[in-house]
């Protein structure tokens, strides 16, 4: 039992961490730039953050071709690794960050007249993106905890970004409190795990679990505690309570990135941690036992079923579009967890592909809310009446996002669901598949309440029906999200391959 078997940081490893480094430097430069140009329109931090994200993104994309990816490129010894999984999520996070930065530039909530701290937002996004990337790369429980806390810390600030808004401040405080409690629970679980196995790195934990006699009850307690902490991050029932309030209270561009970024990062972390420590891998005979001692499939199936059903049923009753999308994002976590059922590659690949699709469609739906909020100063469903004829192109793109979230062809959301269903049915978990299928029908009802309001309902007498013109950047970003949402529903082979390779090239450290 060596507590400090951590290698001394080796600078030659750092070459694999260029995207993260670029984002961190960008964060500092953007902050300084903001201080220097205070009081003006925050052009400097905006440009710096776009530049940093684009640079980091091009390095991350170039990194896909690195031949060392399959074996994993270690950074700081066992703490962090850049492998297929990390490479996939790096690109996903940078894309989400960039889309959010661009859209925030046009958002009244972020850029409104009375804001004096406009520029910080762009710096914070960079920090958050970098921290999420580390979450996808951590392979040591210390790093796991630190990266989660780093994401949390930035998130608390961003949720409370509208300092003068009561709702925003309340959201931030709630986020901190819930975050602290669930982190504490998880940390306790992690420390127990360390006590059981004597290892900090995932590979060591697995080795200890496979070789030694395992106390089933203790392991169950540990796993439940760790799942609790991670469920908080991905907002799975029963650790979802923070989610609707915070999405509703935070500025909408922040809610948009919250609904995809930290969730995807949470899934990345869960995939790596549980797949590495519990799944039946090459040494299947020994490890099948671990997953069954704690009846992992049933545990996840129940969480998944409850999460999707709860999210959908509560979303039905919402009259605020933003809050409805918050509950819908809970429901989607339920769908995603289906892929987690047996920790098989097929299921995890389905999760990755779904996360990719989900990022596109959910960001799109939230951004539409941002764009409309600029004009109407409202997110109430009743105020959406007639939008289909006031801004037909944007509303049509919203229909694409909502139809995709529902999961109907020919949109990408359907393909994502199809893979998840296939993974579950392949293992003959019929009740879960049927429940999820019926949940999609429930989803249809509330997603299309928005469509109905926008296109079908006749506006009241005297209501404003003048055409709305959105910022050109908003049209562009929405189109950049909507077109792949449609195209990936018709031809997705290459992107599925990407997700498949990410799982195949995930170094598990056996």
């Amino acid at each position: 039992m060596e507590l400090l078997n951590v290698n001394i940081p080796n600078w030659s490893d750092m070459g694999n961490w260029i995207p993260e480094a670029v984002l961190c430097v960008g964060f500092l430069v953007a902050l300084i730039g903001d201080m220097v140009t205070r009081g003006k329109k925050p052009v400097v931090p905006f440009v710096i953050s776009v530049f940093a994200l684009v640079t980091a993104g091009s390095y991350a994309v170039a990194g896909l071709n690195n031949p060392g990816l399959a074996a994993g490129l270690p950074i700081m010894g066992d703490l962090v690794v850049v492998d297929g999984l990390a490479a996939f999520f790096r690109i996903l996070f940078i894309f989400a960050g960039l889309a959010t930065v661009l859209f925030a530039w046009t958002s009244e909530e972020i850029m409104g007249r009375k804001r004096e701290n406009k520029g910080e937002f762009y710096a914070l996004i960079l920090m958050m993106t970098a921290a999420m990337m580390v979450m996808a790369e951590a392979r040591d429980i210390l790093m796991l905890f630190l990266s989660m806390e780093a994401v949390g810390l930035v998130s608390y600030v961003m949720a409370g970004y509208m300092r003068t808004s009561l709702r925003s401040t309340e959201a931030s405080l709630k986020y901190v409190l819930f975050g602290a409690v669930s982190s504490a629970i998880m940390l306790y679980g992690l420390s127990l795990l360390y006590g059981m196995t004597g290892a900090m790195d995932f590979a060591g934990i697995r080795a200890a679990l496979v070789s030694g006699p395992v106390n089933g009850f203790a392991l169950l307690v540990v796993v439940v505690m760790i799942i609790a902490g991670m469920s908080y991050k991905i907002a799975a029932v029963p650790f979802h309570y923070w989610c609707p309030d915070i999405y509703e209270g935070a500025p909408t561009p922040v809610s948009a990135i919250f609904s995809v970024g930290p969730k995807a990062a949470g899934f990345a972390l869960m995939i790596r941690f549980f797949y590495t420590t519990l799944a039946a891998g090459p040494d299947a005979a020994a490890s099948v036992g671990i997953i069954h001692i704690i009846n992992w499939p049933l545990l996840i199936a129940v969480i998944s079923a409850v999460t999707m059903t709860y999210g959908n049923l509560v979303a039905l009753r919402q009259s605020n579009v933003k809050r409805m999308l918050a509950y819908s994002s809970i429901a989607h976590v339920g769908y995603l967890l289906m892929g987690f059922l047996l920790l098989t590659p097929a299921g995890l690949q389905a999760i990755l592909f779904y996360l990719l699709v989900y990022t596109l469609m959910n960001l799109g739906a939230f951004f539409f809310v941002v764009a409309i909020n600029n004009h109407l100063k409202s997110e109430e469903l009743d105020d959406y009446v007639g939008l289909g004829f006031r801004t037909p192109w944007a509303a049509s793109m919203m229909v694409v996002f909502l139809a995709s979230l529902t999961g109907i062809p020919p949109f990408a959301g359907f393909i994502g669901k199809f893979y998840l269903f296939t993974a579950v049915l392949d293992k003959e978990w019929f009740w879960l598949a049927i429940l999820a299928a019926l949940n999609s029908v429930v989803g249809l009802y509330y997603y299309f309440k928005v469509v109905k309001a926008m296109f079908f309902t006749t506006p009241l007498e005297g209501a404003d029906t003048s055409p709305l013109k959105l910022h050109w950047l908003q049209y562009t970003v929405l189109a950049v999200l909507a077109i792949p949402t449609l195209v990936l529903g018709l031809y997705w082979g290459q992107f599925k391959d990407l997700a498949d390779q990410a799982i195949a090239a995930m170094t598990v450290g056996f």
């Binding site: 109907i408 062809p409 199809f418 598949a433 299928a437 019926l438 029908v441 109905k452 082979g493």
Partner: protein, 498 residues
């Protein structure tokens, strides 16, 4: 185009829709003309298909087979046989006429015609797909345009009707999706040994895994597929979306809904359920006959009670689709040929009825049967056309509906005698509601309120007369359509019933 005739038929309307998206919305006449042209091309190709289709073969023709998503063995695999050709013809024919019938649409013209063309593509795709995944995608693709067509251009309760239609259909299709995945995971490609969505492989029982041979599993899969299709038909008790959707939908959409969409349900049963689960088709056949009988009688009684013309026609659809189910259940040559022929005939006859209701609604802005009276004098030409359609609906000999219904009863009688006798009552009730409506609307004392109603105009006649000619010709000489499907359907019977 010869090689890819089916692809052109399916995707030419999409091209039309894309072109329409770029025409400025003030140029309404241009939009309508482009839409008519985009729908005319599939119609011309349909005529070519009708001429060149090899009637002596039960194999799939005009097959196009390409890899779509390699990793999951999803293919772009299309083709037609005697079961799908009549449906393809019907779709091309009615879609074109409906575009013409929609000429008076004035609200958001661009959206209407673009969506209509996408709807046509979706329907066509369903009838030509031979890959289950592709089939499912097309099946769902038409939901969205249909939802918008009812929801934006529909009547007063359109919001309710649109979402009800959408929810019902989606609930059915998710069950179909699960069944589809179960098939995918348990059918192996005889060449590569991998999973496959290829329907032709799924038809061959030798490719089914052991799991798929279990009786209970086959029951569950049959029921899953059946509910998906039954909602579309619609079969009692899943029919309640239909009257709402029909009443609220604009005329042309009602025509498509009744004329083509309902057929997709029975087509799905014959194309997918029967050959993939033939033993279950036999197991279920008596239930199907009873469900058909319920549809016939229940639909007819409901139709009799209606005071809204459109609702009456909607319920008559429920009743007429019951004959299709009855014919399918018998597993005899006459029964199944009659059933598919009835699908075609119901498409044409109901289309005429809905178009006729649309004509009077456009003028009077009401469809209350009891609000009219003596219209026969006011609109003599209209009277004669509508009477023709109604007589066709009640199965008057000499018109096409009679032939198919007679074939169905000939097919069913030896197999399920009691059910057939009870179902035959439906013909009597059918005559009753049709004649009673005719009497209340066109005969009797003239309601002075309608003194200024103009008679049917040339454009409307242009949509009705071609259908009328088809109904009449097939009533006298049904062989052109029966020849198309005979070989395929007799082969299907052989596969199912042995």
């Amino acid at each position: 185009m010869g090689e890819h005739i089916l692809s052109w038929m399916t995707f030419f309307p999409v091209i039309g829709a894309a072109v329409i998206a770029f025409i400025p919305s003030e140029r309404k006449e241009v939009i309508k003309t482009v839409a008519a042209a985009a729908a005319a091309v599939p119609l011309i190709l349909a005529v070519q298909l009708f001429i060149s289709f090899d009637r002596g073969s039960s194999a799939f023709q005009y097959v196009e087979h390409y890899t779509w998503i390699k990793a999951f063995n999803i293919e772009y695999f299309i083709g037609v046989d005697g079961l799908s050709v009549p449906m393809v013809l019907l779709t091309a024919f009615l879609s074109f006429l409906c575009i013409i019938a929609s000429w008076k649409i004035d609200k958001a013209v661009k959206g209407y015609f673009a969506l209509f063309l996408i709807l046509e593509a979706g329907m066509m795709g369903v009838f030509v797909s031979l890959d289950f995944f592709l089939f499912y995608v097309f099946w769902e693709v038409m939901l969205l345009p249909m939802y918008f067509l009812i929801g934006i251009w529909g009547g007063p309760r359109r919001e309710y009707a649109a979402i009800k239609f959408f929810l019902y259909t989606l609930a059915g299709s998710v069950l179909m999706l699960l069944a589809m995945i179960a098939f995918y995971l348990n059918v192996s490609d005889p060449v590569t040994g991998g999973h496959t969505f290829n329907m032709v492989h799924m038809f061959d029982q030798a490719n089914h895994s052991d799991w798929l041979q279990l009786t209970n599993i086959r029951h569950i899969l049959w029921i899953g597929l059946f509910i998906g299709f039954a909602i579309k038909v619609p079969i009692f008790p899943f029919h309640t979306w239909l009257p709402d959707a029909h009443v609220e939908a604009p005329t042309a959409v009602s025509v498509i809904l009744a004329g083509v969409l309902l057929k997709m349900g029975t087509y799905g049963i014959l194309r997918i359920s029967y050959p993939m689960l033939p033993d279950q088709a036999i197991w279920f056949s008596f239930t199907l006959a009873v469900l058909g009988c319920i549809n016939i009688l229940y639909g007819a009684y409901c139709a009799m009670a209606q005071t809204d013309m459109k609702k009456l026609v909607a319920y008559s659809s429920v009743s007429h689709m019951g004959y299709v189910l009855l014919g399918m259940s018998a597993m005899t040559s006459a029964g199944i040929n009659g059933a598919v022929f009835q699908m075609f005939n119901h498409g044409t006859i109901t289309a005429m009825m809905f178009l006729c209701v649309g004509v009077v609604y456009d003028r009077a802005h009401t469809r209350e049967i009891n609000g009219f009276g003596g219209l026969g004098l006011q609109m003599p030409l209209y009277f004669s056309v509508f009477s023709f359609a109604l007589f066709a609906a009640l199965g008057l000999p000499g018109l096409s509906g009679f032939v198919s219904e007679a074939m169905i009863f000939m097919g069913v009688f030896p197999v399920y005698r009691t059910v057939a006798i009870i179902s035959a009552l439906g013909i009597v009730i059918g005559a009753a509601y049709v004649l009673w409506m005719l009497q209340r609307v066109f005969l009797g004392p003239k309601n002075e309120k309608w003194d200024n109603l103009p008679d049917i105009n040339t454009r409307e006649m242009f949509t009705l007369v071609p259908i009328g000619i088809v109904v009449l010709l097939l009533g006298i000489y049904p062989m052109p359509v029966l020849d198309l499907m005979k070989v395929t359907l007799n082969n299907l019977i052989k596969v199912v019933a042995g």
